[in-house]
């Protein structure tokens, strides 16, 4: 996407008449990276943000009236599954990025647990080709930590970085062997590349399908203890501390883990962490119906854990929100609870869910939530995204925080509909999503409009 976008506007700036000028006026502009929260205008010329327009540019500008709406940097999601290659019946780069656009995300980082796994430069190139061909938002690939995500031998981190990955991870699985993980982070540090880890001690979660606690006991479902996460979080803190390598902890769910991360950060250890919209909004009480759309890895936890995650986001222990958008088809998901795959989609509902959970509930203000979705996730992986600074790519999201809508599976852009919010009334909807100055979503998909 990055390559395509640059070339699309090549030379376009030479003549004003040929320039593409965008003028978004009258919105509440929130740009947390620049501490900006004011009613005002946002301008873009040839795909980049500018601070003002000349009269000539103004007259040539495509104008978007954002009165009553919030204008902010496009959202950044550093944890999505686009399922290409190999699982395109669930999602592909075209559908997954349309879902991203519909949810206001202009940059997503896709996980390497594809088929085959993205553990070599060739597969990364395949993904990049598909991105260049099909993506409607920016997509950055990640590569595997280990060959085949088997946790046994290191994947070629250097070649993966050269091929264009922004991080390495075995997401979906966790590297169990401490020696392998130690070498992985030491080796990755040489390339200044982040190691993202899915924190799960596999021996503690054999047969586990939901949070271990009073509810798993009552429902008779296999319990997944918090300790399975806490132990690996501790392990990673220790490995980061000794090596100085940057380890990012994916989808944290446990109150105890939040506390471990908080103390690690106080000691200056290079740990970052994310929380998902579902883990900050839902608890394991919901499993009572055995609805497979509440089955995810890691599992929904207790109210105490949920509150700890929110506190962690508020005090910076947890760096950002990431959806862990994990599409599965209805026929894969529609099974006995034990046999259904883990995971839910999240891109299209993230904004509404986070608004409700954090802003409407009075936990934080709107600019803080926007920062959890923009500059903060971008900073974790040092991505060129998440700000409206002059010169930045004009990736912009315009949303209505009050707009009520019903999450209707028929309307999803994703190829899959595995969401716990299906049929529910939500508040807060994206009006327009702009990537490099071009509208890719305005209530319906740009590709559908074309």
């Amino acid at each position: 996407m990055r390559e395509r976008r640059e070339s699309r506007f090549q030379g376009g700036g030479n003549l004003v008449a040929m320039s593409k000028v965008l003028w978004i006026s009258g919105g509440r502009v929130i740009d947390p990276a620049n501490n900006r929260d004011e009613s005002g205008d946002v301008f873009a010329v040839d795909g980049r943000v500018v601070s003002s327009l000349s009269e000539e540019q103004k007259s040539a500008a495509r104008r978007i009236d954002a009165g009553g709406l919030v204008v902010c940097p496009g959202f950044v999601d550093i944890h999505v599954h686009l399922r290409e290659p190999g699982q395109t019946h669930k999602e592909n780069i075209a559908s997954g990025t349309r879902a991203a656009a519909a949810g206001g995300f202009t940059t997503v980082v896709c996980m390497p647990n594809t088929e085959p796994p993205a553990d070599n430069a060739g597969t990364i190139q395949f993904i990049k080709d598909a991105i260049a061909r099909d993506a409607v938002v920016n997509v950055y690939p990640t590569g595997c930590i280990t060959v085949g995500r088997q946790g046994e031998r290191l994947a070629p981190t250097g070649s993966l970085k050269r091929a264009g990955v922004v991080a390495i991870t075995d997401d979906g699985d966790c590297v169990q062997n401490n020696e392998i993980m130690r070498r992985a982070v030491e080796y990755a540090k040489m390339f200044d590349i982040c190691v993202m880890d899915h924190c799960q001690d596999a021996a503690l979660t054999e047969g586990s399908v939901m949070n271990e606690g009073a509810n798993s006991i009552r429902f008779g479902l296999g319990g997944w203890p918090n300790s399975a996460e806490d132990i690996i979080v501790s392990r990673n803190v220790i490995l980061s501390s000794y090596s100085g390598a940057h380890i990012h902890l994916q989808h944290i769910t446990s109150a105890y883990a939040v506390d471990i991360i908080r103390r690690a950060k106080q000691r200056g250890i290079r740990i970052t962490a994310e929380a998902s919209p579902h883990h900050i909004s839902l608890t394991d009480d919901l499993l009572k119906t055995y609805d497979v759309n509440y089955k995810m890895n890691p599992p929904l936890r207790t109210e105490e854990d949920r509150q700890a995650l929110i506190s962690g986001l508020l005090d910076g222990t947890l760096d950002c929100i990431a959806t862990d958008h994990a599409p599965h088809t209805d026929y894969e998901k529609d099974r006995e609870f034990d046999y259904a795959p883990f995971g839910i989609i999240g891109l299209e509902t993230a904004l509404a869910v986070c608004l409700q959970t954090l802003v409407v509930a009075g936990k934080c203000d709107l600019p803080f939530l926007v920062s959890l979705l923009t500059n903060k996730p971008a900073k974790v992986l040092k991505l060129d995204a998440g700000t409206l600074s002059p010169g930045a790519m004009a990736d912009i999201t315009i949303f209505d925080p009050e707009r009520e809508w019903t999450a209707n599976p028929d309307d999803y852009q994703s190829r899959s509909v595995n969401s716990p919010w299906n049929g529910q009334q939500l508040r807060g909807k994206v009006a327009q999503t702009i990537v490099a100055g071009e509208i890719v979503w305005s209530g319906e998909s740009a590709s559908k409009m074309a």
């Binding site: 006991i217 009552r218 429902f219 008779g220 055995y290 099974r335 034990d338």
Partner: protein
Amino acid sequence: MTSTGTWTHKDFISIEDITRDELEILFKLASSFKQTLGRSQKKLPSLRGKTLVNLFMEPSTRTRVSFEIAASRLSADSIFISASASSLVKGETLRDTARNIVALNADLLVMRHSAPGSSLYLSKIIDIPVINAGDGAHAHPTQALLDCFTLRERWGSDFSGKKVTILGDILFSRVARSNIWALQKLGAKVTLVGPSTLVPEYFSAMGVEVSHDLKRALVDTDALMLLRIQHERQTSTHFPSLREYTSMFGLNAMRASWLKPGTIIMHPGPINRGVEIDSKLADSDHSVILEQVTNGIICRMAVLYLCASAVNPVSREEVI
């Protein structure tokens, strides 16, 4: 003659969803069915022409046979489908299997499945009654019915002031969970006892007492339910060995001497003699284990009858 009163459930999934009044309806109907057991002509015409499918995704002998006999006593035809004989081994989903069963004009579906929640899942998909014959560690509601029916014959309908102790592998036991709900709804106090790894403290959220002190749990109990150690289900990490279990928690003559006279000893079967219970005790006067089996038939008849009539009302005269 009993009344079907306010029975409205199409399905019988979990005791948790059943009110005490509804339990009473079940017990009264089961009692009236019990009177027919001694007759030379045991069959009742109540479900004549109905077809019951026993879909057993997990091996079972006594529950399956009990349902088959119950169906037969009500003049229903029953068909047995096992996991290995079904198309599920060919990759068919449970949803499709169930819909095929409905398309074959089955009237009732009894399911045993290793996955918790699967009976509830099926009940939302198909219109015919779904009766849970055990879903993983979640529920085995007809077992709890027959256990409580057996106690009720001795204690009457109000279990207030009675203490029931459930001993053994509670963690993996659907029987324990269903009995916890049923016994408490009937007014009994329930204590769970066994090794800490098999009786986690989390159970106390269900209103029961959790104990690892066998003697203290046994001295004042009015009924003792033993559970089989499901060694085929556990990963090897939950306790050291069956021998250790027997030496710490097995019911032997010495421990039985802690019990009050007249304490009822129950077991849902199958018994592992010499593991959770000393062989002699299993056959003693305290034991009602075989009575439980007999009562299982009439309790299942009551469930089949009530669920079938919730869908397709049968006139009372046809019942008995």
